[in-house]
């Protein structure tokens, strides 16, 4: 029997006991990342390395399939050669599994991005190193290192644009406003940061730091969410 023996050596050796990464293990790692991401408020860094390794694994598997089938010159009969058929099936299932892991990982992240868009968090702004003039967006941006892949940044930008265009059709309703039903039409607020003048149905309100106001809740919702005002109970 003339079986090609040497599979492409693409396993990694983690310790002296030669622990080998089985096909699909890396994909699994990605999915575990995705699982953690679902529970987080922020988007953790994109796992470029693992994504690359998984796609490499798929390419290796594909090469292996080609190598296994090569001697048969297009006339492979599974029942005549069950062992090769088994190897082919394993290769195929591993590729299919890796694809599912990759797809699910990216989908969890895009869903998170969409969620951030709706809640009004500007991920892209957070990524930029702060220029010091304003005290917002100081969170985790120190190095200016993006936790998004370039494709994700593009996705976020386009989705934001689309959402803005969609919202723009209605001037009376803020689609991304709070979903909490109001208890009172008017509320007491304290101004935390100067925000200048705002125009309301009842005239112009001047928001100077530390002043307290009794205003219509709908007029200031956005400012509370952005941290300019604080609601007093």
């Amino acid at each position: 029997m003339d079986y090609p023996r040497s599979r492409v050596p693409r396993w990694t050796i983690d310790d002296p006991d030669r622990v080998v990464t089985m096909y699909g293990e890396l994909g699994n790692k990605l999915v575990q990342h995705a699982k953690r991401t679902q529970a987080l408020a922020q988007l953790p860094p994109y796992q470029t390395e693992i994504v690359r390794a998984v796609t490499r694994e798929v390419r290796d598997l594909d090469r292996d399939v080609a190598r296994l089938l090569d001697p048969f010159e297009g006339s492979f009969n599974p029942s005549a050669d069950p062992a090769t058929a088994c190897s082919l099936l394993v290769d195929h299932l591993c590729m299919r599994r890796n694809k599912r892991c990759l797809m699910a990982y990216h989908r969890v992240r895009t869903e998170k991005l969409e969620e951030l868009c709706w809640t009004g968090v500007d991920v892209l702004e957070q990524q930029q190193p702060s220029d010091g003039s304003e005290d917002r967006g100081v969170s985790q941006s120190a190095g200016g290192h993006s936790s998004l892949s370039p494709e994700e940044e593009e996705y976020f930008r386009l989705y934001s644009d689309m959402l803005a265009a969609y919202k723009g059709q209605w001037t009376d309703v803020d689609l991304t406003g709070t979903l909490e039903p109001p208890k009172d039409l008017f509320i007491d607020v304290r101004v935390l940061k100067d925000a200048g003048e705002i125009q309301t149905e009842y005239g112009v309100i001047n928001l100077t730091k530390n002043s307290q106001l009794y205003v219509r809740q709908g007029d200031v919702e956005r400012l509370i969410a952005q941290g300019f005002l604080e609601r007093l109970s």
């Binding site: 396993w11 030669r18 622990v19 699909g24 029942s79 088994c86 190897s87």
Partner: protein, 178 residues
């Protein structure tokens, strides 16, 4: 069981014992020995996504490639412990996705009694989960251990009950402030 469902993908990653029915050259990587062959009769723990499909290889016009066994998480020993007292078993240690794994296994093996044991287990533990979820002071004493041993399905159940109860308290509490 959607294609993109993270929990379903993780359930698929849980392993169960598979015995190879034929010799497969070059497939040793499954055993941790890349380049080697797999001998007929070799027993390896394979993830569900691989083992299940290999076990129904009859479609290829051959006999099946591997035979499956019950995973340890659903062994007789575990079933007996669950029959004795469902509340003291650490399901998470057995399998993080214990119930979804069971569902998949029960599709493969016909185990009527196991269904009954699991249903009883789920009910008894659900009642306990609800008690803990409605306790505003959070888990104390034995409760901490119990909650740590919840599998993923149960955790989601706890979260659902806990979040709802919290919402009601927030609503009632805020109303008091005015």
């Amino acid at each position: 069981m959607s294609y993109y469902d993270i929990d379903s993908i993780l359930t698929d990653a849980q392993k169960l014992p598979c015995t190879f029915e034929l010799e497969v050259p070059g497939l040793g990587i499954l055993e941790g020995n890349p380049g080697d062959d797999i001998k007929a009769g070799t027993r390896i723990d394979l993830p569900l996504w691989l083992g299940e499909m290999l076990s129904i290889g009859a479609r290829l016009g051959t006999s099946r490639l591997v035979t499956l066994d019950m995973p340890d998480a659903l062994a007789e020993r575990v079933m007996n412990a669950l029959k004795a007292d469902p509340r003291t078993v650490d399901l998470r240690a057995l399998a993080p996705h214990f119930y979804t794994l069971s569902e998949r296994i029960l599709e493969i093996f016909e185990e009527e009694e196991m269904v009954d044991v699991l249903i009883n287990t789920f009910k008894k533990r659900a009642a306990e989960i609800s008690d803990h979820a409605h306790n505003p002071r959070g888990a104390v004493g034995d409760g901490v251990d119990f909650l740590r041993g919840l599998d993923e399905t149960e955790r989601q159940l706890f979260r659902a009950a806990h979040d709802r109860a919290k919402q009601v308290r927030i609503w009632a509490g805020e109303a008091k402030k005015k």
